[in-house]
Symmetry: C2
Subunit: 178 residues, 2 copies
């Protein structure tokens, strides 16, 4: 999926808000005000909120995986380090939570298309990490479990580090995974 300049700016704005406060924390009005158009014009690009929310999660997932590269490009340990570093960068450098971590927590309250895209984030990330763990010699099932465990640790580390306003806590929690 490719987006126009305006559509991209809408997504940028919505993503920033959603990663701060979840699905109910971005609105057509606020997005419009931020990028200098009217809320009706936001509806032109994204007909309703569930379409916008689903697009948000889809673009986030694609960008996230694209930034990681193919799972086999380099050594397995280096890939794990890179994976953890991408969460670290989001939290500490960008000051934002994982969009799909937020959406995942409130998934029972989300419109179905948004929930589906949120699940896709975790499925694809478990696949990505699972390949790494398999490259390290683990069986498919165990690799998947370890992948899920690592993602859970990173999502949880974000929440605790953010809550306690202590960036170093993220590193201390993740120590050993990198």
């Amino acid at each position: 999926m490719t987006y126009s300049e305006t559509a991209s700016r809408i997504l940028d704005s919505a993503e920033r808000m959603a990663r701060q406060g979840g699905y109910n924390s971005f609105s057509f009005r606020e997005i419009a005000a931020e990028i200098g158009i009217k809320s009706a014009s936001v509806h032109y690009h994204f007909a309703n909120k569930e379409i916008l929310g689903a697009a948000l999660a889809e673009r986030y997932t694609n960008r996230f995986l694209a930034a990681l590269g193919e799972p086999a490009d380099e050594g397995a340990d280096e890939m794990l380090r890179r994976y953890a570093a991408s969460y670290r960068k989001a939290l500490i450098e960008d000051g934002q939570m994982c969009l799909c971590g937020m959406f995942g927590a409130e998934i029972r309250d989300l419109p179905d298309p948004v929930a589906r895209q949120t699940r896709a984030f975790f499925v694809r990330n478990i696949q990505w990490l699972g390949q790494i763990f398999q490259a390290k010699g683990l069986g498919a099932e165990e690799a998947e479990t370890k992948a899920a465990r690592m993602i859970a640790a990173l999502e949880g580390a974000m929440i605790l580090s953010r809550s306690l306003q202590d960036d170093t806590l993220f590193d201390r929690i993740i120590e050993g995974y990198s």
Copy 2:
């Protein structure tokens, strides 16, 4: 803090909604409708939303810790198992997320009194678990890190298991902590 019958039912209702969709997912009107009073009467018991939210997090924290008992009552490993089991019960038996996990994720968007109570949940839980790890022979700093790591793993496991609608995933992720 002790609450009247009605105040307790307000908190029960709000807690259930908040653990499903976060701070913006409960409203005075919806709570009132659920327990059969008017929204103005909810304001009688909790003057505004931040007071209600803070009371929610405070009661949740106190109940959570009370259910765990004193950290030294039994063997350290049994206490760790019990700690993980309390998250498991919430997720699988009650079908709910951790209230302060939800609030923690969106903490930057929360009114200050709610954010403070949310932080208190994590501080007190790290203290509780830290005592267990110290009883197992770890130094204070390392015990605190391991405590935070375990809480992060449990919060993250809830999000993934919930997102992927797979109860067994929670157990597989937590395997080894219990």
